[in-house]
Amino acid sequence: MIVHSIFFYFFSIIAIFSSLMVITSRSTINSVFFLILDFISVGCLFIMVGAEFLGMILLIVYVGAVAVLFLFVVMMLNVAEQKQSWFIGKKSTHIPTGLIVSVLILLELLVVVGGWKYKENVMSSSTLFLSNISNTHQLGLVMYTDYILYFQLAGIVLLLAMIGAILLTFRERVGVKKQSYLNQISRTPLTAVELKDIKSNEGVKIDD
C-alpha cells in the first residue's frame, strides 16, 4: 500500500507542478510541453485507480492528437517569448475572463463534490454495477445501450464543429489546375497526342 501512495504522490505532484507551469511559463511552446506532461501524468493516475481504458484513451486522444495540433498551431504562429509575466503587464485583458472561468469551474467542482459527499447515491449510476469484469467491458455494456443517445449526440456535435471549421476556412480558388487521377490513368496514346496543321504566321493556342 505504501508503494501505491508513493506512486500516487509522485504522479500527482508532477501533474500539479506541470499544470502550474502551463499557466506561468513564459514561452508558449514550453506551456504546450508541460500540458503534454500534465496529460500523461493524469493518464497515469487514471491507470493507477484501475481505469486503464480511460487512461489509455486520454493518452491516445489528448496527447496523441489534440496536443499535436496545439503544438502545430503554436509553432506556426511563432509567438515570441513574453518578456513580462502576464499579470504584471499594464493593460491585461486576460484577468477578468480568466477569473470568470476559474470561479465557474470552482463552483462546478463544489457542486459536484458537495452533492457526492452529501449523499452517496446522488451521483452513482444505477446501471453501472461493480464486479470483477474489466472496466473496458463495463463501459461497453452501458455506452451503447443506456447512453446511446448522449453518445451519438456528442458525436454529432463534434461532427458539426468539424464541418463548421472547414466551412469557415474554405475558399474556392480560381485558376488552380487540379490533378484528376481518373483522367490521367484513362489516357491513351490516341487521346493524349493531337496532331495539328499549323498555318504559317498564326501559330496555335495550347493549354486552354
Binding site: 491516445i60 496527447v63 496523441g64 492528437a65 503544438l71
Partner: protein, 335 residues
C-alpha cells in the same frame, strides 16, 4: 522494503532481458535492410565487417559514439537534446506488452492494443521536438510534414485495429493471438492487412512515404542538425519503431506466436521462434518496398490517407460488424 527491492531487481533483470535482444536485433535488422536493398540493386551491400558484414551496424554505432555532438547556437538546447531521447525511449517502451509466447511477456495488460496504439501515437513528439528545436527551416518543414503524415495515418490504423477487435472481443494481445487459433485474421481481413501494412510504412516514415526526410527537398528533414550519438539515437529509434510495427502486424493479422498449422513438426518449434519469423517476414516486405517503390508526392500521400484509406476502412468496419452480427459470430466475451 527489502522484499520490494528484490521485486524491483527482478523486474530490472526482466527488462534488461527484453531490451538487450531488441537492441541487438535492431542492429541486425539495419544490416538486413541494407543487405536487401543492395541485393535488389545488384550490389553486395555491407559485407566487410565480420561474417557477411553482420557487424557493420556495430561499427557504425562505434563511429557515431566517438563523433562530436554539435548543438546549433540558436537551438533550444533542452528540447534539442530531449527529442532523440524521447524517440528512442518510446520505441523501446512499447515492447513491454509484446507477447513472444503465451507467458513470455513483460506485462500482460488488459488494454495491450490501446497501449501499443498510444505509444505509437506519441512517437510523433520526438520528431516535432527535434524539428522545432533545431531552429532551422529544413528540420522545421520536415517535422511539420511528418506530424501531419503520422496523425493522418494513425486514424486509419485505429479503425483497422477496431476491425480486429470486433472479431476478438478483447483488448488483450494474448487473447487476440489465441482467437486466431483456427484462422489467422489475414484471411478474412486481407484488405485491412494491406491497408495496415501501407499505413505502417507511412507511420514509420519509411519509403515510399519518407517525405519528412526527402533529401531532394528537405536535406534530411528533422535530423538535419543532429550529429553523432544523437543522430544515432533517432536512427535506432526509427528502426525499433519499424520492428514494433512489424510485431503489431504479426500479432493483429498473422497469429503472433501461433505456428502456421497445428501439426506435428510445426508445433514443436517454440513459440518465440514463430513470432520472430513473422516479424522478419514483415520486415523483409518493408525492406523490399524501400528498394522497389519510388517516393510519393506529398499531396498524393495525404489523399491516400484521408480520401481512400479512411473511407475504405470505415466501410470494411461496417461490413465486418454486419457480417458478425448477421451470422451471430460476435464474440461473447469472457465476462
Amino acid at each position: 522494503m527489502i522484499e520490494y527491492l528484490q521485486i524491483l531487481g527482478q523486474e530490472v533483470y526482466k527488462i534488461l532481458f527484453l531490451l538487450v535482444p531488441i537492441l541487438v536485433s535492431v542492429a541486425m535488422i539495419v544490416w538486413l535492410d541494407r543487405r536487401v536493398w543492395g541485393l535488389v540493386q545488384k550490389r553486395r551491400g555491407p559485407n566487410v565487417v565480420g561474417p557477411f558484414g553482420l557487424f557493420q551496424t556495430l561499427a557504425d554505432a562505434l563511429k557515431y559514439i566517438f563523433k562530436e555532438i554539435i548543438i546549433p547556437a540558436s537551438a533550444n538546447k533542452v528540447v534539442f537534446i530531449l527529442a532523440p531521447i524521447i524517440t528512442m525511449t518510446l520505441a523501446l517502451v512499447a515492447w513491454a506488452v509484446i507477447p513472444m509466447s503465451e507467458d513470455l511477456v513483460l506485462s500482460n495488460i488488459n488494454v495491450g492494443v490501446l497501449y501499443l496504439f498510444a505509444v505509437s501515437s506519441l512517437g510523433v513528439y520526438g520528431i516535432i521536438m527535434g524539428g522545432w528545436a533545431s531552429n532551422s527551416k529544413y528540420p522545421f518543414l520536415g517535422a511539420i510534414r511528418s506530424a501531419a503524415q503520422m496523425v493522418s495515418y494513425e486514424v486509419s490504423i485505429g479503425i483497422i485495429i477496431i476491425n480486429v477487435l470486433l472479431c476478438v472481443g478483447s483488448l488483450n494481445l494474448n487473447d487476440i493471438i489465441i482467437a486466431q487459433k483456427d484462422m489467422w485474421y489475414v484471411i478474412p481481413l486481407f484488405p485491412m492487412f494491406v491497408i495496415f501494412f501501407i499505413s505502417a510504412l507511412a507511420e514509420t516514415n519509411r519509403p515510399p512515404f519518407d517525405l519528412p526526410e526527402a533529401e531532394a527537398e528537405l536535406v534530411a528533414g528533422y535530423q538535419t542538425e543532429y550529429s553523432g550519438m544523437m543522430y544515432a539515437m533517432f536512427w535506432l529509434g526509427e528502426y525499433a519503431n519499424i520492428l514494433l510495427m512489424c510485431a503489431m502486424g504479426s500479432i493483429l493479422f498473422l497469429g503472433g506466436w501461433l505456428p502456421i498449422m497445428d501439426v506435428y513438426p510445426l508445433n514443436v518449434i517454440p513459440a518465440p521462434i514463430w513470432m520472430i519469423l513473422k516479424i522478419l517476414f514483415l520486415f523483409l516486405l518493408f525492406a523490399l518496398i524501400k528498394a522497389i517503390v519510388p517516393r510519393y508526392r506529398y499531396d498524393q500521400l495525404m489523399r491516400l490517407g484521408w480520401k481512400i484509406f479512411l473511407p475504405f476502412s470505415l466501410i470494411y468496419l461496417v461490413l465486418t460488424a454486419s457480417f458478425l452480427f448477421y451470422f451471430d459470430k460476435l464474440p461473447k466475451g469472457n465476462f
